[in-house]
C-alpha cells in the first residue's frame, strides 16, 4: 500500500497538503474523512490518527498527524524543488517562523470567522451573538494586518521571492473566511496581489479544485439532529 492521505477538503490544513502533493506530482491515495458527518471520530480513523483530526498521513506502517509535519515530511521524502522549504538558513527560518505563528493566530481567527459567519447559522441552525462575530472579525483583521506587515512586507511571497509551504498554509487559511463571504482581499490590494501570485504558481485549476468543497459549504443543507448532536460538543469551542 502506497502513501495515503486522509483529508477533508473543507479543512484548511487538508487543502494545503492536497495542493502540495498534487503540485509536486506525489502519488497518493485520497482517503476522504467527512468531518461534517463526524467520521473523524470513528475507531477506524483513530488507528490512523489518535488525535482524531485531519489531515493525517499513512505511509506503509508509518502514520503522521499535523499538516506542518506532513508537509515537511513530503518535502524531504519526495525531494521537491528547494523553494518549497529552502535550504538557505535564513530563508528556511522565515518559513518556520510563519508555520509556527499561524497555529494560534491566523488559523484561530479564520476557523472562527468561517464557522461563526456561516456554519453555525446555515449548517447547525444556531445564531451567533453579533458581538461574538464582531470580535472574531476584528481579530481576523488584526491577523491580516500582521500577515501583511510582518510576513509579506514588500516581498512576492511570505518567506521571500519564491513560493514556499508557508504560502500554501496561509492562502488555504484565508480562503476559509472567503467561503463564508468575508471580503478578505477587497480592501487589501497587497494581499490580493499575493493571492494572484500564489494561485498562478500553484495553477488555477488545482487551486479551484482544492477549494471546490469549501466554496460550496454555504449551500449545504441544514444538518439533521443526529449530526448536530454529534458535532456540537466539539464545535462549541468555536463560539468563544
Amino acid at each position: 500500500m502506497g502513501l495515503e492521505l486522509y483529508l477533508d477538503l473543507i479543512s484548511q490544513p487538508c487543502r494545503a497538503v492536497y495542493i502540495f502533493a498534487k503540485k509536486n506530482g506525489i502519488p497518493f491515495e485520497l482517503r476522504t474523512v467527512e468531518l461534517l458527518k463526524g467520521q473523524h471520530h470513528s475507531d477506524a480513523f483513530a488507528q490512523v490518527n489518535p488525535l482524531k483530526k485531519v489531515p493525517a498521513l499513512k505511509d506503509g506502517d508509518f502514520t503522521l498527524a499535523e499538516s506542518v509535519a506532513i508537509l515537511l515530511y513530503l518535502c524531504r521524502k519526495y525531494e521537491v524543488p528547494d523553494h518549497w522549504y529552502p535550504q538557505d538558513l535564513q530563508a528556511r527560518a522565515r518559513v518556520d517562523e510563519y508555520l509556527a505563528w499561524q497555529h494560534t493566530a491566523l488559523r484561530n481567527s479564520c476557523t472562527r470567522a468561517m464557522w461563526q459567519k456561516m456554519m453555525f447559522p446555515v449548517f447547525l441552525g444556531e445564531q451567533v451573538p453579533p458581538e461574538t462575530l464582531a470580535s472574531t472579525l476584528a481579530e481576523l483583521e488584526r491577523c491580516l494586518q500582521l500577515l501583511e506587515d510582518k510576513f509579506l512586507k514588500d516581498q512576492d511571497f511570505l518567506a521571500g521571492p519564491h513560493i514556499s509551504v508557508a504560502d500554501l498554509v496561509a492562502i488555504t487559511e484565508l480562503m476559509h473566511p472567503v467561503s463564508a463571504g468575508c471580503q478578505v482581499f477587497k480592501s487589501r490590494p497587497k494581499l490580493a496581489a499575493w493571492r494572484q501570485r500564489v494561485e498562478a504558481a500553484v495553477g488555477k485549476d488545482l487551486f479551484q479544485e482544492a477549494h471546490a468543497v469549501v466554496m460550496k459549504a454555504k449551500d449545504l443543507p441544514p444538518a439533521d439532529s443526529a449530526i448536530k448532536e454529534k458535532l456540537k460538543p466539539s464545535v462549541q469551542v468555536l463560539l468563544q
Binding site: L51, E66, L72, L89, D96, A100, W101, K150
Partner: protein, 330 residues
C-alpha cells in the same frame, strides 16, 4: 538593555576588566549573574581578530599603528560586550523573559549547547515587550526573539531550528532520520494549541489573574481549563510518549525540552500536572537529567519565585490587559 551604555573613553584599556558581568546587557535587569558572552568566547573572538598590542617580533608599534589599534580595540570592545542597537553589534542576541516557557526552551537549548549569546532581558511583568524599542525588534510584541546581526527571528520553534542548524548541534536534538524527524515536527506543531496554550492559561487563572485583579476566575471556567489540560496530558502520554524514553525514541530532542518547559508553567501557580501519571513523571526526570539539573533549575527560578512577586509594580497597561482577559473568562 535600554538605554545602551556610553562607549568607553578613547585610549582606555577595557581588556583589564575581564569579568563576565562586564556587559551592559544585564546590569540593569535586576537579574544579577545572568550569563552573557562567556569569557572563553570573548578571547576566541580576540584570537580570530589577531589582536595584540605588540607588533611583529616584540617591537613596539609606532604612533600611527597605536592609533589604529586603539580604534580597533574600541570597536572590538563594544562588539565583545554586545552593545545592542548599534551597528557594532555582531553577536547573537536572544530577547528573553524566563517567565515564558518558550523563552526557557530557547535559553536551555542555547546554554546546553554552549551557544554564545547576549541575554537581552525583556521584562514581561513591566510591559517591556510593548516598548517602542522592542516593537522595532519584534512587531509581534512577543518573546523570545533572536537577533543575529541584522537577521531578526521570532517564534521559539523557528529559533530552535535555526540554532540547531547554524551551530550544528548534536543530531539527536533534531534527528536526521525521516520518520524520527517527523515525530519531532509533529509534536512541535501540536503543542502550540494542545500544550502551550492550556498550560499557560492555568498559570493565569490560578495565579496571575487573582493576584493582579484580586478576583477569582469562575469555578466553571477553571474546571473546564483543568479538564483540557488533563486531556492533553493523556494524549501526550498515549500518542507522543507511549513506552519510549523520550518523544523521538531513545534520546532527548527539541520536542522534550519544549514539552517539559511548557508543562512546568502551571508550577508557577503551584499546580502540578505531573501528579497523575508516573510515566510522565519518569520522563520528566529523564529530561531534567539530560538537560542538567542546575541549568534546568536556573532556567525555572524566575517562574518558581513568581508567588513572591510584588504585583503592585506591574505596568498599568499590562494590568489593564489582564483585567480585559478576566472579562473574557467570565
Amino acid at each position: 538593555m535600554w538605554p545602551p551604555p556610553p562607549a568607553p573613553e578613547p585610549g582606555s584599556s577595557p581588556l583589564s576588566t575581564e569579568s563576565p558581568e562586564n556587559s551592559c546587557c544585564c546590569e540593569n535587569s535586576g537579574l544579577p549573574g545572568l550569563m552573557t558572552t562567556p569569557s572563553e568566547t570573548r578571547s576566541s573572538r580576540m584570537r580570530v581578530l589577531g589582536l595584540g598590542w605588540r607588533g611583529p617580533t616584540g617591537t613596539e608599534p609606532g604612533p600611527g599603528a597605536q592609533a589604529a589599534y586603539r580604534l580597533r580595540f574600541r570597536t572590538c570592545w563594544l562588539w565583545l560586550v554586545g552593545v545592542p542597537d548599534t551597528c557594532l553589534s555582531m553577536g547573537l542576541e536572544l530577547y528573553l523573559d524566563l517567565l515564558s516557557a518558550s523563552c526557557r526552551a530557547v535559553y536551555i537549548f542555547a546554554r546546553k549547547n554552549n551557544i554564545p549569546f547576549d541575554f537581552q532581558f525583556v521584562d514581561l511583568l513591566k510591559g517591556h515587550h510593548h516598548s517602542k524599542e522592542y516593537i522595532k525588534i519584534n512587531p509581534l510584541k512577543k518573546v523570545p526573539s533572536l537577533k543575529d546581526g541584522k537577521f531578526v527571528l521570532s517564534e521559539s520553534v523557528a529559533i530552535l531550528f535555526y540554532l540547531c542548524r547554524k551551530y550544528s548541534t548534536p543530531s539527536h536534538w533534531y534527528p536526521p532520520d525521516l520518520h524520527t524527524r517527523a515525530r519531532v515536527d509533529e509534536f512541535m506543531a501540536w503543542q502550540h494549541t494542545a500544550i502551550q496554550m492550556p498550560m499557560s492559561r492555568i498559570l493565569w487563572i490560578k495565579m496571575l489573574i487573582p493576584m493582579i485583579t484580586g478576583e477569582e476566575v469562575p469555578d466553571e471556567k477553571v474546571e473546564q481549563m483543568l479538564a483540557e489540560v488533563k486531556n492533553s496530558m493523556q494524549l501526550f502520554e498515549e500518542k507522543f510518549l507511549q513506552d519510549k524514553m523520550f518523544i523521538s525514541g531513545d534520546h532527548i530532542s527539541l520536542a522534550d525540552v519544549v514539552a517539559l518547559v511548557e508543562m512546568m508553567q502551571p508550577m508557577g501557580g503551584n499546580y502540578d500536572v505531573f501528579l497523575n501519571s508516573s510515566k510522565i513523571a519518569e520522563w520528566r526526570m529523564r529530561v531534567e537529567l539530560a538537560i542538567g539539573p542546575s541549568l534546568f533549575g536556573e532556567a525555572h527560578d524566575r517562574l518558581m519565585r513568581l508567588a513572591e512577586w510584588d504585583s503592585s509594580t506591574l505596568d498599568p497597561m499590562v494590568k489593564e490587559r489582564i483585567c480585559e482577559l478576566l472579562q473574557k473568562f467570565k
